[in-house]
Symmetry: C2
DNA sequence: GTATAACATATCTGATAGGTAGGTTTAATG
DNA sequence: CATTAAACCTACCTATCAGATATGTTATAC
């Protein structure tokens, strides 16, 4: 189950995409519109900025803006950054130590199949799709 | 991310399917083979029994057996019972109170699509598929 | 040089996964 | 009918983490 981090991240990116016209959008504007606590939101924007999905500018007139066009943001890239992993089980996490029983594991194929199913789906949807309310 | 409950439940059902020949399999046999603490395993078998996926018999010679053939167990039915929900976000949980913002929610279609994708996949795989090491 | 806003660090709190302990009831068997 | 084996039941413990809050420090525009 996804946490609020990933869900809020999506809402924030949609918010910025819709309200920015090349301008930087300050955090408190976003927090107010999306009804998310400023301080909690900050911790999410840090992730997005460090991950290169947003560009932050300090000082007066500063704020956040997208680093690329909405079509270039896949759901997978956003959720991977904010949730840490999309793997349905721990042994499939990106940084998992290789399991010694993987050869004889009866359940591994299921988890691999599910992992691919989820990954493919989230890779196929972009931020632009959500904004344009495209059927997904 | 799935918890150990669902993962263990799968392993247990496979274990019982492979080691039972109509006989009841006692919990400690399963725990030993699967290297899971007896007491923790017990809490999982309670769920499976109450949910009708296993039949438990008390007393000497007792234990657990399947209530139906492996082809009739879908991954979805097993994981739904042990994980509580398969919904990727809280607002899609079976018992969630209806969200007042669902009409204008930009992210809802994504979560609904993901929910369906996951559900369809897990519905398509059965316990028999895992046992026979079928490609899934 | 002052207002603004991102960036940084530390801490708190409640829920839950994961596990443990001990006792009670049911059924088979000698 | 006593004994044993096993499911079943209730309660508790502990570490982790989501979800926040608080208090700063640094950079930028005017």
């Amino acid at each position: 189950m996804n946490s609020t981090r990933g869900r809020y991240a999506l809402r924030v990116l949609i918010d910025i995409a819709e309200n920015s016209n090349g301008k930087y959008i300050p955090l408190n504007d976003i927090a107010e519109r999306e009804e998310i606590s400023e301080k909690y939101l900050e911790s999410i924007l840090v992730l997005l900025t460090r991950g290169g999905l947003l560009h932050g500018l300090r000082g007066k007139g500063g704020g956040y803006k997208l680093t690329k066009s909405p079509e270039e943001y896949t759901m997978k890239s956003i959720l991977l950054l904010t949730e840490g992993t999309l793997a349905p089980v721990a042994c499939l996490k990106e940084d998992a130590e290789p399991c010694t029983k993987s050869k004889e594991c009866r359940t591994l194929p299921l988890w691999q199949g599910l992992n691919k199913t989820i990954g493919d789906y989230l890779e196929s949807v972009t931020l632009a799709d959500l904004i344009n309310k495209k059927d997904i």
